[in-house]
Subunit: 188 residues, 4 copies
């Protein structure tokens, strides 16, 4: 029951913030979209900032779980990366609103303790870097500055998501994973 209401608020907030941006989203608008009273929001979240944190937390958790599950499988590293990209893009296709928030609001100035946004920005690239290091060790790809390349890949993904959303052409995400992997496999 409590989870339900929290989810309703998260979805309403995602809807509005994707369209107006965090700072132009009013608590009252979220409440209206959620079909509840403003006060109710504060029974589930401490602040507006908190809602944004939670949106990131949910997405981050999905990616974590997926990667954990992926690690147990017996796959080439580049295949893992590809599978992950496909999964990531799939999530964005399912909820472009969330996608827009992930790219737009990731640099949000933080004040909170639990910092899922910082995690998102730090840990995901770190995991990509780790996978690249592994791939080099396995001699799947040749030597490179994996820190730079990981940042490059992480940014590139964001760039494509942004392009897809701004152009209102979510479909390009379907081809994107393939195209990127092709580039990376050849290029690395």
């Amino acid at each position: 029951m409590e989870e339900d209401k929290k989810e309703i608020i998260r979805k309403a907030a995602t809807h509005i913030m994707a369209r107006k941006g965090f700072y132009n989203t009013k608590a009252s608008q979220i409440a209206e979209e959620a079909g509840i009273a403003v006060g109710t929001i504060y029974n589930y979240f401490n602040s507006k900032d908190d809602i944004l944190e939670y949106i990131f937390a949910v997405e981050l958790k999905k990616r974590y779980n997926y990667l954990k599950q992926l690690n147990d499988k017996d796959l080439m590293v580049m295949e893992k990366i590809e599978t992950f990209l496909i999964k990531h893009f799939q999530e964005i296709i399912n909820s472009p609103d969330t996608g827009r928030i992930l790219v737009r609001e990731k640099d949000f100035p933080r004040k909170m303790n639990q910092d899922y946004i910082a995690d998102y920005l730090t840990k995901l690239p770190a995991m990509i870097m780790k996978m690249l290091d592994e791939a080099i060790a396995n001699r799947e790809i040749s030597e490179c500055n994996t820190e730079i390349i990981a940042a490059f890949i992480f940014g590139a993904i964001q760039g494509i998501v942004e392009k897809a959303i701004n152009n209102n052409n979510i479909d390009i995400l379907n081809d994107a994973a393939g195209e990127i992997i092709k580039l990376l496999k050849k290029g690395l």
Copy 2:
């Protein structure tokens, strides 16, 4: 004289906005940093939004001019892209504050007529895409979806700039252009 004052304000605003983000930057802080009165800001800009637009306009103009100049030279397309990347990263190294604003505030919801931020987001990737098309025509690189790849490259650049700034490690930008070009040359 007028330009001087406008420049002073632009620099002060860049300084503060890079640290606090646009929405957490107060007009009074900009004035203090600039060593002028609050009212003076509004003798040179119509609004806070206007200042951000201007910051983008200045940077966009620099890139335009550089690319125009580059087009006259007799270079391979991939060399042009490389040269441009080096120039771009050099600018960021010279003013990381500006770099941070370019990546952070680019999705800023706009209200103004003159829209330099939108231009920055639209025209720069479009120019990269055009260069890629040219490179394919010249058989410098093999066929690919240039729209996706251009978005990929544009995003990747932002990702690296962001990483460099967030990690307070501007130096990686020195290597970044080379590393990226190596990847692209091989991969495309």
Copy 3:
């Protein structure tokens, strides 16, 4: 409940605006006089302009209702005008603050849609003119330019109210209706 709060604000605003004039009345002063927070004003009104409009709307409605009620009665036209004047002056005597605002702020430059101030200035004289036309038709008074005379009477009323308020001598309003009617009956 909502009406109560709106009324409280209307009265507080009337009190201050009568003393300082619209432009020298601060939202904070109204709030203080009303014993509420500044923000609360804006839960009931969209703007300071809106409050002034509402003050006029309330008074206009009173006059309308009174005239409607008067029309059903079987009276000579000049008696109706006299009765209306008495009523009008009585309202001013009851709330000189409102009276002062009605005469002082009627030329307020308007920006709003609902325009009760314009109505007040247009419809009340129009009704007086209509009554005069009727009186001429009934041969109660002789021919005259009713447009001019209506403007004359409407202005005259304001002049007396202003005089009464400026001289801090509200009592003259008690005699005013009689004196005016005497003049009009003889003069028209």
Copy 4:
């Protein structure tokens, strides 16, 4: 020379204030209309308030002089009043902008020492009252409350001027004096 510049400013201010009202008239607009710099205004006036005072002062002086001149003539009192009304309306016809300011801004909250606006509001009705008293003494008109009737006449004049200006029909002022005098002669 100094008078010239002061006159230019007075006229420019009259033009703008008649259209926008005192509080919506900016010093910069007056300067622009006058074809001078903002600073120059303050070489001739101490403040914006001061300009409005001056506008009233000029008009008040005209009426004074006219009345003084009128007193020397051998006329019935009611003829004097009529002549004065004609003169007053003539001035308004010549400069409706000034007319609008006289009626609109007369209740302007004063802060200054020299107070021509207060004079205008006090002395002109007082002079009308004095003339009425004289007329009663001469048995030109019958007994009445001259204070009320003076306020009535003064307000009535304003009402007609306002009507003429609001309806953009200055011409009714040509008939107004006659119509009013007819009413007063018969009615008093």
